[in-house]
Subunit: 210 residues, 2 copies
């Protein structure tokens, strides 16, 4: 399998979401233009992205919707469910545990860790809150593959080091710090303030231009 | 002012965060390598990105930390606070309202809208939940510049159309659909399942390579 560009990888889940929507509308086939319009990109981009996955689609006809769903799901490793832990169980952690979109897409939150004695031992949505002291043993016991890191910023790096040392290779980082991790570990940052600041940039430009 | 590339805009908030951290450590000056290491990129990228903002920094010395904070804040339009509304007040909306990181960075959530009669009229954190029927008048009354769209997926486009028609030009979209908006309106999608699927892709590749 050739190296797939990062930007293409980032678009595959979007295509998948659009294809599932198309399937729910009973569309048997979709062409690159149709998929591009649903995904908010252009047809050439769709064809280029999908070309990394192999010889898909039929010229002049398009892509078989169900076949393409199966193919992209396979590429994304979504054929089996993934075991996920939340580390840091504040307001955001609680919101993530309650978000049904994860389990619907095969991401099962099966462990929660926190440092607050008042929370440890309680159960939320069928998941028991464990002590952060049991982080390494708990991650191993539950065979966790992905950690949602929702600790305060000042301890995020130290906790990430422990998560990585415990063998977890994928972190979704909600703490507003840039994590330093070894090669082979994948971190995706989610910083909502950054998103708002990018919007603010555009608002500032619009005002200048007006 | 020249056109600043989208990827550069996306990195400016990261640089700003790192600079604020440097200032809190009493660093008067930072060079491109130091800033790059904090931001998780490389020095050439930092120099290139900042060159779009003008002639900043002194060769062989670096950037004045406080001056660069002021400059980037100005570029991002962060010198005044921005008025923000949450549309769709479910679990995620509630979590966003409680997130202190927004107001700390000048994003004030001053209005909340929902369709659920049980929620309308209640107050949360000093903000009254308004009926979605009052969306247009409420957005205008509160001079909202940015909407956090946290409705269910099936109504997101219809609600976004109303938000745009009311004159709002910036939307942070948490609904798992690609929004269709006119030119001049900026949408930033936040789809946490997409983030998890990207991590899953990397996990799948690691397993194949192992």
């Amino acid at each position: 399998m050739d190296r797939v560009p990062e930007q293409t990888i980032n678009r595959l889940p979007i295509y998948l979401r659009c294809l599932v929507q198309a399937a729910s509308l009973n569309m048997p086939v979709i062409n690159s233009l149709g998929l591009a319009q649903m995904a908010g990109t252009n047809a050439a981009q769709v064809r280029k992205d999908l070309s990394y996955l192999g010889e898909l689609g039929t010229r002049g006809i398009g892509y078989d919707v169900e076949a393409l769903i199966a193919h992209i799901s396979g590429e994304l490793g979504l054929t089996a469910s993934r075991r996920v832990a939340i580390v840091g169980f504040g307001r955001l952690g609680g919101s993530l545990l309650g978000y049904s979109g994860f389990s619907e897409r095969g991401f099962d939150i099966v462990a929660v860790f926190d440092a607050d004695p008042a929370k440890i031992g309680t159960s939320v949505g069928g998941v028991r809150v464990r002590s952060i002291d049991e982080l390494e043993s708990g991650l191993a016991e539950e065979a966790i593959e992905i950690v949602l890191l929702t600790t305060p910023a000042d301890v995020a790096q130290a906790v990430a080091d422990r998560v990585v040392a415990a063998g977890v290779c994928a972190i979704l980082n909600f703490a507003p710090v840039t994590l330093d991790v070894p090669d082979g570990v994948k971190v995706r940052p989610v910083d909502l303030s950054v998103e708002l600041q990018v919007l603010s940039f555009h608002l500032a430009r619009m005002t200048q231009e007006a």
